[in-house]
């Protein structure tokens, strides 16, 4: 699946998007965040305060307990500040 990062999440990780292949035990968005944190210190830094991270699956907001199965695109970003 494709992971996309925005705003300071993107800056901390150092790239706008990438292909990821989480293992089978990664079931929920929350699991995915924990797994991503293990990928390196830039991820550790981006997701150090995981509960503030907003997540969208296939361009729809989801909660951290949502199951990621079937998602083609998962986006991670800070709380929105538009308008």
């Amino acid at each position: 699946m494709k992971a996309i990062y925005f705003a300071w999440v993107r800056e901390r990780i150092g790239k706008p998007e990438e292909e990821i292949a989480p293992p089978a035990h990664v079931v929920t968005v929350g699991d995915l965040l924990s797994w991503l944190k293990g990928k390196g210190e830039e991820y550790e830094y981006a997701f150090e305060n995981a509960q503030v991270i907003r997540v969208a699956m296939d361009k729809k907001h989801v909660r951290h307990d949502a199951k990621i199965e079937g998602a083609r695109e998962i986006a991670f970003f800070p709380p929105m500040t538009g308008g």
């Binding site: 996309i4 925005f6 361009k59 929105m80 538009g82 308008g83």
Partner: protein
């Protein structure tokens, strides 16, 4: 009529509002909101707006449709810019037309409250002194504004 646009360029509020009323004799109320970039007492030299292409349009449309399901309003326009925006420039525009004022006011406020809290846009500041400037932090006040609609 429902118009949603996300664009880099500026827009013309008068033209957008006119499209909701032109040639109509059943529109009694037109409410518009324009959000502009403030200089924060001269400290800010620009805002840079990032968005999630594809999702931002979907979210704005979803919010507009919810407003329309909630109040008997007629036309809705939601425009949001991205890229670099200088103090005094327009950032966002919402227009709602309908038969009566109450509904048009409510729908416009509702759209702005949810646009702020759920449309995927992020602002970063550029300071006059050349410093890189941080990402604008989300405000609790905006969450509170959006929350109030849940009780009604």
């Amino acid at each position: 009529m429902l118009t949603i646009r996300i664009q880099r360029e500026d827009f013309d509020p008068a033209k957008e509002a006119e499209a909701l009323t032109h040639g109509r004799t059943d529109v009694g109320a037109l409410v518009t909101f324009t959000g502009l970039c403030r200089s924060e007492a001269g400290a800010l030299c620009a805002l840079e707006l990032e968005h999630y292409p594809g999702m931002a349009e979907m979210e704005l449309e979803r919010i507009a449709q919810e407003a329309r399901a909630r109040w008997p309003v007629d036309g809705i326009v939601v425009l949001h810019r991205y890229g670099k925006i200088e103090p005094g420039e327009r950032i966002v525009f919402v227009a709602v037309s309908g038969g009566h004022r109450g509904e048009a006011f409510h729908a416009a406020e509702y759209i702005m409250d949810f646009l702020k809290t759920s449309a995927p846009f992020w602002k970063r500041e550029h300071h006059v002194d050349g410093s890189a400037g941080g990402w604008v932090e989300a405000k609790d006040a905006d969450d509170t504004a959006a929350e109030r609609w849940k009780r009604k």
